[in-house]
Amino acid sequence: MKTTPHLRRFGITGRGLVVALPYLWLLLFFVVPFVIVLKISFSDIDLAIPPYKPLLEWIGKYSLAIKLNFNNYVFLFTDSLYLNAMLNSVKVAFISTLLCLLIGYPMAYGIARSKPSTRNILLLLVILPFWTSLLLRVYAWIGLLKANGVINNLLIWSGAIHEPLTMLYTPFAMYVGIVYSYLPFMILPLYANLEKMDWTLLEAAEDLGCRPYQAFYKITLPLSRNGMLAGSMLVFIPAVGEFVIPALLGGPNALMIGRVLWDEFFSNRAWPVASAVAILLLVILVPFMMWYQSVQARESAGAR
């Protein structure tokens, strides 16, 4: 963009002005907050508002003391609750991601290979639940899974069981909820990837004597690698820190780190501990986020 030369001398350009606003916004409300979380994770809990002690303290007139308190982190590694919650969250997120991939891949593949008119309708049907409140969709599973819920009533009515099965407030319910909620996030990037695929490659492989499953294994699967990775990241990363689904479907014993953070913050008012949990969670997730970003960059470079 053209700007008057004297403005440009100060490094102010039209382009700069376009990106400055979102840039500063995200810097202030997305990046700076993490610095504050890091700071508070090193402070002491206090019975005050806000409930933590300042890191910097004036001692006398001219000396400033910085007090870094590592207790919160030591606490996280000594109390087995936190490590167990962390490991369990990673495990639950990982298994859920695999399940989403298993269910989502054939669906994305099928949608990508259907007629354009059918394809649009099917795609719409995948997107629609995503626009409907997550909270309400998770709530729906309470009605389906509870002791006198729809599934138990159907099974008893059909004579398959005589006593209602305990499904709600179990790990099973939590997995169902997570897979159900995150499935569209797996299908959409996979579909976007498979849709661009050159299907004549498959025909060529079959002409050369490949069995359909061999052609799939040797051609489709490797070519859709980026789609699978993008979808898996979109499921895995948020699922590790998921709060709503374990809180509603998982029952009191569902130890997930997002829930631990929530309870430390809201029930115990332990802001420094909650901050330390957040930092630990970030340390685990940031490599995955960077991976996701590089996959995205590769995908869009491939599209051009």
Binding site: F30, P106, L144, Q293, Q296
Partner: protein, 275 residues
């Protein structure tokens, strides 16, 4: 290209969609059930609209819905401005200082667990209040800022992908004919990316309307949003009024999505016909 699909794939699609839609349909069906037990069908008195009546007279829910609506509208409008600027910057300026950082900052909120974003925003607001006295307390303003921060990332993605898919020659032609960049943007680029901006607005609205976690961290006393009220009710078990709320939500979303996709399909047909 052939559209051959094996029985295996067709079965997978059928089961997948059943999995996605049975819970949603069950809420719709049971919203007409007279029984307070929700999932036990009271065939003598059902179907009934009595829970619809009681939802529409529930002051707590209506107040919360009003707050949610205000936050969602302001959020969507603000996010669209920020997200379009960011999407335009990333989509059109191939090299500028801070591009990598901006890209990272607009990608990370898409996957960042909400508990982290919520906690960090709250701590920022508390720190700001201590040092500069703003924002005084928390409420609609702080919630809207929080929502905008993650919604704008979604708008950025939508706008950016639309920018990547349209013919740059149109912009270049206008520039060759002497239009200034700002004019090119308003006369050529904006009308073309308008569908993306509109769907970005709707997306930002929905994200805000549905958000529980970030709202819970950044709201103050007396500013409970609809998801916060729903969550506290749902924690105690199923409630017929929530089924009604879900049915109404699904109805509105379906109408909206179907409407917008028809409009977009028509727009793209016109575009193709013109080309």
């Amino acid at each position: 290209m052939n559209y051959r699909r094996s029985y295996f794939i067709v079965t997978c699609i059928a089961f997948g969609f059943a999995f996605l839609y049975v819970p949603i349909l069950s809420m719709v069906v049971f919203s007409f059930n007279a029984s307070k037990l929700v999932t036990v069908w009271d065939s003598a008195n059902s179907p009934t609209l009595k829970w619809y009546y009681s939802l529409l007279h529930n002051e707590e829910i209506l107040d919360a819905a009003w707050i949610s609506l205000k936050v969602a509208v302001i959020n969507a409008s603000g996010s669209v401005i920020l997200g379009t600027l960011a999407g335009f910057g990333l989509g059109r300026f191939t090299k500028f200082r801070g591009r990598f950082m901006l890209n990272a900052m607009t990608t990370a909120p898409l996957v960042m667990p909400e508990v982290i974003t919520g906690l960090s925003l709250l701590l920022l607001f508390v720190a700001l209040e201590q040092t500069i006295g703003w924002p005084a307390g928390r409420g609609i303003t702080t919630m809207t800022i929080g929502h905008m921060t993650f919604s704008m990332a979604y708008v950025t993605v939508v706008v950016q992908s639309r920018l990547a898919s349209f013919d740059r020659a149109l912009e270049e032609a206008a520039m060759d004919l002497g239009a200034r960049p700002l004019k090119v943007f308003f006369v050529i680029t904006l009308p073309i990316i308008l569908p993306a901006i509109l769907s970005g607005w709707l997306l930002a609205f929905t994200l805000s309307w549905d958000d529980l976690v970030i709202s819970s961290f950044t709201s103050g006393p007396g500013s409970s949003t609809l998801p916060m009220v729903v969550f506290s009710k749902v924690r105690l078990g199923v409630s017929p009024e929530i089924n009604v709320l879900a049915t109404l939500t699904i109805g509105v979303v379906t109408l909206m999505i179907v409407g917008v996709s028809f409009w977009m399909a028509r727009a793209s047909r016109l575009e193709k016909a013109a080309a």
